[in-house]
Symmetry: C2
Subunit: 296 residues, 2 copies
């Protein structure tokens, strides 16, 4: 069994004024035993939220943007606002409780708890990351799949939770299986009205000449934490960056494309729906060096 670290967060909600301040708000748990009841709404309804943070050399990347997005997801799901000081400390404890490794990830999860119980369940889990060197250098093959929603669905139908990072990810995993059936590695979702959106667990970034673009986040997609760090890199390199509505057809027409995510980092797209895209090995290598060493 892999090494792993598990922190059960015992104070996922805001501190009541009468709670003693010296409590850390979490306990260290055994990652290889059972911790959840079958009645937990995380397990029975996918009713909760998560974030995955990349850690290199003991440093959690983009932790504050991840925590901010975690709090935003909690708001969209009407969950209690997480006490970010407790979560920050729990992430540090998950890192400290794991044997040192070059790359690990820490996952933060908050569920609505046992049905009727009104007490969220919360944990932080740490584990060594897989080896993504092939995806980072040779690139990935993607297929575009219809997500079924119009690009403006987050505005018209907020109850659909588009833009929240929820535990209800069965469709995201189903889409990956569909990609494998089509001989590809990953997916770029497209709105029902033809706009590029995001991957099931990644952000799309396109390069056309000196322009770097990512789909506008008001289309029911997540604001990418890795994409934000990548934009810093591209801007320092002299590229122009922007958030735009991007039509499906522009993927195959791009000079280069990447899917960005916290653990795999920048994976260059080497084919889209069977059409080859150029992989810029030098630019991608420097981008990944930036992402893996960035203080953000």
């Amino acid at each position: 069994m892999n090494d792993a670290s598990l922190i059960l967060v015992t104070r996922p909600v805001q501190l009541a004024a009468d709670r003693p301040a010296e409590q850390d708000g979490f306990v260290v748990a055994d990652p290889h035993s059972s911790q959840l009841r079958v009645l937990d709404l995380g397990a029975t309804r996918g009713d909760g939220i998560f974030e995955t943070v990349s850690v290199t050399g003991g440093h959690a990347h983009a932790l504050e943007p991840h925590l901010a997005r975690f709090a935003y997801s909690a708001k969209l799901l009407d969950l209690p606002q997480p006490d970010l000081d407790v979560w920050r400390n729990a992430v540090a404890a998950a890192i400290a409780n794991h044997p040192p490794v070059p790359e690990m990830f820490v996952k933060l999860v908050l569920t609505r708890g046992i049905e009727g119980g009104d007490i969220p369940t919360a944990w932080v889990y740490g584990e060594q990351s897989g080896d993504f060197s092939a995806a980072r250098t040779e690139g990935i093959r993607v297929v575009t799949l219809d997500r079924g929603y119009r690009h403006d669905v987050a505005k018209t139908s907020p109850w659909l939770l588009q833009g929240a990072k929820t535990l209800s990810y069965a469709v995201n995993r189903s889409a990956i299986r569909e990609a494998k059936r089509r001989g590809a590695d990953d997916v770029v979702f497209v709105s029902s009205d033809g706009f590029l959106l995001e991957g099931p667990s990644s952000t799309l970034v396109l390069r056309n000449g000196n322009r770097i673009r990512t789909p506008k986040t008001d289309q029911g997609i997540l604001a990418g934490t890795t994409q934000a760090s990548a934009f810093e890199f591209f801007e320092a390199e002299g590229f122009e960056t922007s958030f735009e509505m991007i039509a499906l057809e522009e993927l195959a027409a791009a000079d280069a494309a990447w899917l960005l995510s916290s653990v795999r980092q920048a994976a260059p797209v080497r084919s889209a729906d069977g059409l080859d895209l150029a992989v810029d090995a030098d630019l991608t290598g420097r981008l990944n060096d930036h992402l893996l060493s960035s203080p953000n």
Copy 2:
């Protein structure tokens, strides 16, 4: 804490030929302890399926249709086909292990298990049902909410898993919260192109004169097990029944409407988007008597 019964299904996949036939395929567990690991894909990705079966007088209603739908959901999610003999026996054990009560429910759950482990997690949980007498007699207020998908999305985009009963129900629960914010009790989802679909955990049935209609199930909605039993009742009463595409506007224009589900049974709709609908107390009462006593 409520009485409850929990059966951990240890053989959720088809029996290998060399496995001894005398194994029951399940063990009785303590429902009040922890059984799941935080790495279970049911808890981290809502990646699994479920069914909820109503039990009165020790009899599991519509068990075979529930098991058939469970197997269908497994297929849509590329999960191993459940060994229905084992599940049938586990349901019987959950009933036998629960103190006798007038109405209880049994929930069947199959998750994809621990990531990378390739062994599904499976359980059957039994508990006394809540008191739904007010919903069954006085009725419920519903609002219609856009589900965001076209009516034909299950055909065009099967990776969206519409028509599968998955654990990724965060949107269904979010929709219920939206209904409460609007002063209602429940939801009728509508396709983005204006057709009535289903409730977050129920089937819609409309009456117009002698005609009883429910939305066609090829619109990415579940085939209702309680609706099937209700149609037997209506046909015996001399009504004509059919599955149809039904426009949003027809809900308010119906002579009567019900949301049907396994545990609450038939809840008459007393208002839709704030417009009153007539509740036929006599017909609804006889329908619920049928559903609660039916051998199916």
